[in-house]
């Protein structure tokens, strides 16, 4: 069997996991060269713009130089003004994501598990999906008022569709052969769901949730744009109305950081459950 073992290359497999897995000691040593390369262009642009403004070639009134944005961001954070906004936006996205994600998972599972549900409900959902979600804004405002409910509902709608579609496709795509193995070994319905169906759909579920969360961040901007007294989106509106482009760009940066952090959180939480994947590692 040694020949087989060598042919399969288990050692290289284990090493690849060790390099990719976030939990193993030594995995924290990050190779900074690609990071530096990726940052080169935006940093260069920022430096050039900073130099042009400092040298007096540009006023920087509409496009403030990086130093001014940094100062604005620092002041917002330092004065404590930023944090209630971050908290409000994160709470809205969290509530909308929870609501849209949960209903998306439930209806996705129901639609794939019960053909009658799929035939009955899926055409309607597909029809609703064709509506650009921002078109809901006036209706939601009328129905649900101008406060939190309408905002969370709008975010939930944005999260729902990608999660619903992703989960339905994942359950329908579960390998029949794996389910057959479960039947032959007489797993109970609960064990079948827990030990075969759930792990089988987990990779697609993670992708669906990440897509949904991305849309959640998109929709929170729209929701806060349509009227809010706090939230990062409010900082955008405020910056526009009072002519403070540095505040707008600072708010955009905060959105980017929050979105990235939330996405990384999903990836981190799911990683231990996905270690079994013999996946292409992305051409390292």
């Amino acid at each position: 069997m040694t020949a087989e073992a060598t042919a399969a290359g288990p050692e290289t497999g284990v090493l690849a996991i060790a390099a990719a897995g976030p939990r193993l000691p030594g995995a924290w040593r990050v190779d900074w060269r690609p990071v530096a390369l990726g940052l080169a262009l935006p940093l260069l642009a920022a430096l050039v713009w900073e130099a042009l403004v400092q040298a007096g070639f540009a006023s920087g009134r509409l496009l403030p130089p990086p130093s001014r944005i940094a100062v604005t961001l620092w002041k917002l954070a330092r004065s404590g003004e930023l944090w209630p906004h971050v908290g409000a936006t994160a709470a809205r996205v969290g509530a909308g994501f929870a609501l849209g994600g949960a209903t998306g998972i439930l209806s996705g599972v129901a639609a794939s598990y019960f053909p009658i549900f799929r035939r009955l409900v899926d055409p309607t959902l597909q029809g609703l999906r064709a509506i650009p979600s921002l078109a809901w804004v006036p209706l939601f405002l009328l129905w649900l008022g101008i406060f939190e409910t309408s905002k969370i509902a709008l975010i939930a709608v944005g999260v729902f569709f990608p999660v619903y579609l992703g989960v339905m496709a994942a359950v329908l795509g579960v390998d029949r052969k794996m389910v057959e193995v479960g039947r032959i070994y007489r797993l109970s319905g609960l064990d079948l769901a827990r030990r075969i169906l759930l792990p089988a759909i987990l990779p697609s579920l993670v992708v669906a949730l990440r897509t949904g969360l991305g849309l959640g961040w998109m929709f929170v901007v729209a929701a806060e744009y349509m009227g809010a007294s706090e939230g990062i989106g409010y900082l955008l509106v405020d910056g526009q109305q009072l002519g403070k482009p540095d505040q707008i760009i600072a708010a955009i940066l905060v959105f980017a950081l929050l979105g990235k952090a939330a996405d990384a959180m999903i990836v981190r939480v799911a990683a231990p459950a996905l270690r079994w994947q013999d996946a292409y590692q992305g051409g390292r």
Binding site: M178, E180, R186, L187, P199
Partner: protein
């Protein structure tokens, strides 16, 4: 269909009868199976005694895999009944296990959990014992994807045996393996069959494999048993060049 005319060498397998054991008798009473208008099995009547090793050969579409799925209880016969140890059975059978052509290990469970998929008290110890029996005791903690094709099939064999089935069905389990690995698997299968004493039904398109391993070869053709040939030479003498083996192989080939 291409049937390789190659004898399988099994020189070091001693010819002893299997241990009297847990094998169950398997009988078909007028089994037919149709899918829509297409009749795949057209009346099977035969009995496989407890502990016998039967090979079923035949061309693609001859009904081999359908027969296997009926025995396992994955499908039901259109008419007729399958009797296990004398009683008619329907639905999935706890004492029948199936080894597929692809090992069908769950990729998200480590080797030990795959072998012990049926769980139950003390499953880890039993799974470890079976892994040792198929020579993979040291791979218990590995993910399936690091195993070779032959190793995966060994794990699947251990998984099938962990619940001590009375009947083991093998659906072309060695078809995708290279020739050397296949010889290893033939030895291993013969060994565990002796030790555990189950009734074995091996589906294969490889006539040489069938006559090398089985007590009896059934040829399925167009949904019927076209030949029922006893391989009446000891396993230890089934080496290439045995004239009796060659003759039996010719008879099977003629019936296919």
């Amino acid at each position: 269909m291409m049937v390789p005319l190659r004898a399988v060498e099994t020189p070091d397998i001693p010819d002893e009868p299997p241990m009297a054991g847990k094998g169950l008798e398997l009988a078909f009473d007028g089994i037919t199976k149709s899918f829509g208008d297409a009749a795949v099995l057209k009346g099977l009547d035969l009995t496989i005694p407890a502990g016998q090793f039967v090979a079923v050969v035949g061309r693609s579409g001859g009904g081999k895999t359908t027969l296997m799925r009926l025995i396992a209880g994955l499908d039901s016969p259109t008419t007729g009944a399958i009797r296990i140890a004398g009683t008619a059975r329907r639905g999935l059978q706890p004492d029948v296990r199936l080894l597929f052509q692809d090992a069908r290990l769950l990729p998200w469970q480590r080797v030990l959990s795959n072998v012990g998929i049926a769980r139950g008290p003390g499953w880890k110890e039993r799974a470890r014992a079976l892994l040792a029996e198929v020579g993979l005791a040291d791979r218990a903690g590995d993910w399936p994807y690091v195993l070779s094709g032959g190793q995966k099939q060994r794990v699947a064999l251990a998984r099938a045996l962990v619940t001590e089935p009375g009947i083991l069905l093998l659906d072309e389990p060695f078809g995708a393996l290279d020739a050397l690995t296949r010889v290893d698997m033939h030895r291993l299968l013969t060994k565990v069959w002796r030790q555990h004493g189950f009734t074995a039904v091996l589906i294969t398109h490889d006539v040489a494999e069938a006559v090398a391993l089985a007590d009896r070869v059934l040829v399925l053709r167009e949904g019927r048993v076209a030949a029922d040939i006893a391989i009446d030479i000891p396993r230890g003498t089934r080496a290439a060049g045995n004239p009796r083996l060659a003759e039996l192989e010719r008879r099977v080939l003629a019936a296919v």
